[in-house]
Subunit: 220 residues, 2 copies
């Protein structure tokens, strides 16, 4: 039934887009294809219990980065008839911010307050999702048998709260969490520099600045 | 992954329809909504282990009748710019033929040759699908404890070949199969009468006649 509800939403989204200019429809199609690609990569990496940092980054880009930030910005530009001159500058803004958004999502999935995120903490760990956080922790603890055993529990549906806590500690102790936070800072700085360079009005820049803060920290 | 492949197909179907005239897009949207509705009704009836003949007929109409025959005929008419004058006559053709198509599908699902249909015989019975065949058999054997027990096994994933055989015999013995076959004959006759009345060329009529035979009997 959930699949059918998704199909309904799909049809109604199409109907709402009907009549949009052709460049906007092109962006919308591309967004939907990229999302499917990202979700497929995500499933395959999870099934393979991969810890490849490049794969983790590619998944984050397709599954969330492009879909959540870059393509919606393109969609707005296309609806305003300015895709030709703004596609490049908005990609420079959207790609780093989209990646920061996904990294924050990964961190909240492991360390977040369930009351705030609405998602049970540890679910990403139980599903064995390949995230940059996991890939970094794996690389940084290579050679330690205890850590390897603990990381080997990723993807176990019966992961208990004590193991979730131990994994959280491992992400902190290994420096993986700090590295992800530094990456978020760097990506937001990149996005902000691109906002400053973009040929936009002051008002549009202000809104993108708000977006930059929101995607990276949500609650600030 | 199967869901994602479906989503991909959805997006590419949309893209192929892009540029079709607005009336064709309206038909396409309606077709997709009706299909979702039919599948939802199907799931609900299966979950409720319903044997309601009216529900069975409504499911057959939405899930398959409109989607398989009526709406595709409308789509063709819309692409040819003739939806206004042909929608009614083509519904008169498509609705009975679509219902006949679904009834044949139900019969093949229970009695068909796996090598021909490509579907394992008995799967519909194991899934406990509410079909007119099942609704009729239930109504016709009311009061018989043995038959009720056998029909109570519908929807059991572990239904074995002996039980499938016993259910096939029950559908024959109760007269349910014969009634479905008579209904198919009646629906095809209705569809053919509508073809004869429709304001179409002789060539178009011939093609619809072929369709009428195909949907009702497949292999003739």
């Amino acid at each position: 039934m959930a699949i059918l509800v998704g199909d309904f939403a799909f049809v109604y989204a199409d109907r709402m887009m009907r009549g949009a200019p052709a460049p906007a429809l092109d962006v919308f199609d591309e967004l939907r294809v990229e999302l499917c690609v990202g979700q497929s990569l995500d499933l395959v990496a999870t099934a393979q219990a991969s810890a490849d940092p490049l794969a983790a980054r590619r998944i984050a880009t397709y599954k969330s980065g492009k879909y959540t930030v870059e393509r919606p910005l393109h969609l707005g530009a296309a609806l305003a008839g300015r895709l030709d001159d703004l596609a490049g500058p908005l990609s420079d803004v959207g790609l780093p911010l989209g990646e920061a958004f996904q990294l924050r999502d990964d961190v909240l999935g492991v360390f977040g307050d369930e009351d705030v995120t609405g998602k049970p903490v540890g679910d990403d760990l139980r599903e064995g999702k390949l995230t940059p956080l996991v890939a970094l922790a794996t690389a940084r603890t290579r050679g330690d048998a205890d850590d390897a055993e603990l990381l080997g529990r990723l993807g176990s549906p019966d992961l208990d709260p004590i193991e979730v806590r131990a994994l959280q500690e491992l992400f902190v102790r290994s420096g993986a969490l700090a590295e992800v936070e530094r990456t978020i800072e760097r990506l937001v700085a990149e996005g902000r520099a691109a906002i400053a360079r973009a040929p936009l009005t002051a008002d549009a820049r202000d809104r993108l600045e708000d977006l930059a803060v929101y995607v990276a920290w949500r609650d600030r």
